[in-house]
Symmetry: C2
Subunit: 183 residues, 2 copies
Amino acid sequence: MDVSAVNSLSFEEFVEIFGNVVEKCPLVAAAVWSQRPFTSLGDIEAAIADFIDGLSDSGKEGILRCHPDLAGRDVQRGTLTPESQAEQSQAGLTQLEPEELAQIGALNAQYKQRFGFPFVICARMNDRPAILAQLSQRLGNKPAHELLGAIQEVKRICNLRLQALVRPILPAPAQLSSTPPKL
Amino acid sequence: MDVSAVNSLSFEEFVEIFGNVVEKCPLVAAAVWSQRPFTSLGDIEAAIADFIDGLSDSGKEGILRCHPDLAGRDVQRGTLTPESQAEQSQAGLTQLEPEELAQIGALNAQYKQRFGFPFVICARMNDRPAILAQLSQRLGNKPAHELLGAIQEVKRICNLRLQALVRPILPAPAQLSSTPPKL
């Protein structure tokens, strides 16, 4: 879909298509529909980032709490969203050995105890060892710092989910040639 | 469940139980979990109201856009949330005659065209004729006024959904008897 097609969507269609670019937070897509018309994929992304950045700290924590545990309960139950399923699967998190499951489960529990939200990372940009290393390392962060870092991961996940839905606008040849060349 | 039981819930449990007190916006419950401990049902309700009031106008519009049309597509498809199903059913909106369906559908379409969000009303506090009358009347409101009015309805719906989940705190008998009776 290109951006002009996005701009012609009703809010129902927009929420149906973009409702999970931020995991389980259709409210985000539903809110940014007000910012149409969008000029590019980056413009949609910026509207979403603005919405998230405008939330209070507890709102940002809320965004994170809507995410599933990596390799957690929803993986075992088969109740991940299709987007999360694809991402966790690609990172090898849906087929862990029992010892790995126990290790990641214990670290996740520590992380949630410390920060009050689950560990969120852009699984598509990391492999299994990198994810485990990050989880251990980020456990040592200060809470305010970790909140902002985790929200950055939400934006990375959102960017990749958007890329799967919207074609970036390329400059049209006619527009390029309409700018007089410097002589 | 009483409030002390609510306060002992993990965020996963809290979001699972309270995730739909604002229709399809688990983010709201996930955010207010940060405000624990709560002292009463009213305290939870106030935290939710504060979160909603703190959203930008487009955020408030987003909350409304997560609601289904009354007697709309989700009723026909059977895809309402359980809470919405019970509320619309009690107000008689799931068993309309074809003419009534056409009438409410046309008014809904006009409303969405005018305001950019669906008509939201606390169905439990209104019967079918009152809902139709309100829909016609509110169509004439100014957009800024209608946005605030519709958000009030969201809070009424939320209040009733909370009441179905949490017992209000009653003064304990020991406390009552500790107040010396007037003789």
